[in-house]
Amino acid sequence: MTHHHDDESGRDGISRRHALECMIWAGTGVLWTISGGVPVSLNLLGAAQAAEAMATGFTFLQISDSHIGFDKAANPHAIDTLKEAMGKIQALPQKPAFMIHTGDITHLSKPAQFDNAAEIIGGAGFDVHYVPGEHDLIDDGNGKAYLGRYGKGTKGAGWYSFDQNGVHFVALVNVVNLKAGGLGNLGAEQLAWLADDLKAVSASMPIVVFAHIPLWAVYPEWGWGTDDAAQALGLLKRFGSVTVLNGHIHQIMQKVEGNVTFHTARSTAFPQPAPGTAASPGPMTVPAGQLRGLLGTSSVTVKQGGQDLAIIDSTLA
């Protein structure tokens, strides 16, 4: 893929819009890579290069918004679709090195819901790095249930970082201390921690940031954004490759801004409408038979020795 770093016209020729069209059209199996901060569809690079990226890199898998406990019309069996998703992950030809869960593990933060999720997700045997969604912090203890299970070794409301295979991963929490009229919120304490955390990281190291609510303004009218994300992104400016992975909106969205690629994952529980296309962002009920085409997971491959990340979004269909 090196030539794509050099071939500006080719990179632009493929175009972001085209990549987005593919994402929407194909629904499943679209593979793209980030070259110098600009995504290029690996489908368009050809199978050989895609295979090379897969063979020489390591893969991690993103799962999101499992909403265990949800049983309404949009999907009365959210527990079953999570099981299906985990089954597909276990059947992948290239095993992910680990998984991340970008929040809303449960629907109502109930102990049995956390237990069910842990049993199904943990049953696959992968290490899983979690961040909470707002649905995971609504127990009577305002988050004690989540932190009791997943807070070990984290700071504050559950944020942390770790390095794996030459990539620096940062897990952020933007679902606490939400303010009236506001969006997602990171807060001063977390931003100070982030600034400190990034100090020792080389600018050439790829960064993957993950959090529940999108760190870009997808649709503020529905609360789909984070008020102080700009401050976090400011701290990430000096890095050559930054990938931001989010959940919350139960559909794939992507955007590239300078060195940063933003990507949101599907839910394994229920779809939500595209921004502004419904009266509210509530669960979208689709005809039976279409649901699994709107649920899914995302697989991210990091090529060894390079800055390229490739993301494959797969549905449950």
């Binding site: 629907h107 109502l108 707002e134 609504i138 009236a180 009229g181 506001g182 009218e221 962002p281 509530g282």
Partner: protein, 114 residues
């Protein structure tokens, strides 16, 4: 006589106080108690005016949980699942802005005025 009258006066005073109490202090909880519906990620009505001592019922009609939180932290519901209600009795006059603790772009206001 005096011994009888005094208790009678006391009784009257107590009865009067009791009547006043029942007339004004207990929450207004009739079938037509004011209700704020939570539907389509919005509070309806968004603004509501009630008299002091009124209990307002918030009911979640969405498929997603919501949480009613006063901007000044004077009240806060638990997470309301579909069909769940939360009641709060507004005793003091004033404007009470509130929002959803899970979806803070959802906002409403209760005005308490005699």
């Amino acid at each position: 006589m005096i011994c009888i009258r005094l208790p009678a006066r006391h009784m009257a005073a107590i009865l009067t106080a009791f009547t006043l109490t029942t007339a004004t202090c207990p929450p207004l909880r009739a079938a037509d108690a004011p209700m704020v519906k939570i539907e389509n990620f919005a509070f309806t009505p968004r603004e509501l005016t009630v008299k002091p001592g009124t209990t307002v019922i918030f009911r979640n009609d969405d498929d997603i949980p919501h949480l009613v939180v006063a901007n000044d932290s004077s009240f806060r519901s638990k997470a309301l699942d579909t069909g769940d209600t939360y009641e709060f009795t507004f005793t003091k006059a004033g404007d009470f802005a509130y929002f959803c603790g899970l979806h803070p772009h959802m906002q409403g206001k209760i005005t308490v005025a005699p």
